[in-house]
Symmetry: C2
Subunit: 234 residues, 2 copies
């Protein structure tokens, strides 16, 4: 009895066959199946499903874009995968670029969540810093891994879409800030932070293109050397 028939149909939409969106340790299935009450007032119900629909669209688009490239996926395919009408899709996102930006924003949040989880509960600042590379390794071994979505998007659209280029730049900047903060906690300076960030970036492209998931472990070992050299042997 919950909702209309049409909504039930779109609720059990295919999630493009994979769990999560290909980001490590995410497992976000976006649809939380937690309606506010049953339907409450019409207005509240509409708002709830709007959020749900938006999330579903973004999740479907993210999986498709990440797996095949942005320009290789048409709006119609996103529509099918998300199980919404084209009209609804364009009601949520006025154009493809807005959808792409929403996907990147979602991916950014997943990335930050993953980083936070990797650091959570780790007491030693040095180990917390190195946990970044453990997180990367977990991500690289995901079978859907195909590199950093922001690097890919930048290479594909960075030259034609300033908004996409800016999104990639901001994502990388917040990562550098994150590493810098952890480095400071461990007693290192910003130079060390920048160098560790370089290792992480290099590991991502190497793992993606060369298909070498052990790039994370190589990067971790290099990071240990750099940290110990900067902080003095332990």
């Amino acid at each position: 009895m919950a909702g209309t028939r049409g909504r039930d149909v779109t609720d059990e939409v295919p999630r493009t066959g994979r769990a999560g969106t290909g980001q490590a340790g995410s497992g976000t299935t976006s649809a939380r199946r937690a309606r506010t009450g049953t339907t409450s007032t019409r207005r509240a119900s509409t708002a709830a499903t709007q959020v749900e629909v938006r999330e579903r669209i973004v999740a479907a688009a993210d999986a498709l874009y990440y797996a095949r490239g942005i320009q290789a996926v048409g709006m119609d395919e996103v529509r099918t995968a998300a199980g919404v009408s084209l009209k609804r899709l364009y009601a949520e996102f006025p154009g493809k670029e807005q959808l792409v930006l929403a996907v990147l924003e979602s991916r950014h949040h997943q990335w930050e969540d993953g980083l936070g989880r990797a650091a959570a509960g780790v007491e030693d600042p040095r180990t917390r810093l190195l946990a970044i590379f453990d997180f990367l390794e977990e991500w690289f071994t995901d079978e859907t891994f195909r590199g950093c979505g922001f690097i890919n998007a930048f290479g594909e659209l960075g030259a034609t879409s300033p908004a996409v280029a800016a999104a990639a730049r901001e994502h990388k900047q917040t990562f550098q800030d994150h590493v810098a903060r952890l480095t400071r906690d461990a007693g290192g300076d910003e130079t060390l932070g920048a160098q560790l960030a370089l290792l992480a970036e290099g590991a991502q492209t190497t793992a993606a293109i060369a298909g070498r998931a052990d790039a994370a472990r190589q990067a971790r070992r290099a990071a240990e050397v750099l940290i110990d050299a900067a902080l003095g042997a332990r």
Copy 2:
């Protein structure tokens, strides 16, 4: 006198306004203006201009693809920039993918030439190893720099074109081999080589997306630390 009228027209084609193809220290203007004699036999002349036309097409396509992305540039635009007819273009390259692969191959050779020049004449193996990062810095400061063309191509087409993905993989592999060789010359093992390669890769994406050309210098400093730690202080 030299050549036919039609050929002269296509000879002085616009080189898309830039010198080289955006790769550091290249300065390859592809067209060498060195005809074998004047026209010699008809057959030899045709062969000479064929090579020239091919190079011109590849150079024009490379500049356009690198600056704006591959999918954003149509065959017609390549045709105009190269100053050849569509028929001629398709006579040289049966399809766009073949042209893309030829561009990547050309870019790979330029990259190897640049690396070789950077190492040439440097006696000390350690300094020769570090010269990689000087080469990167020079490249990053080029105003047309927009990241590694192979990383960009992989992000854009790696999922849909196995040939492009393979080209990127091979390019990165030869780079790792190159670094490994120089590392061995300096007395280091393959672990060190892999780590230095990670730094170089990370510097490329960081310089491209964050626009920080100093990533090369940061990577160089990190490389020094890693080298000294692996080889013992000097």
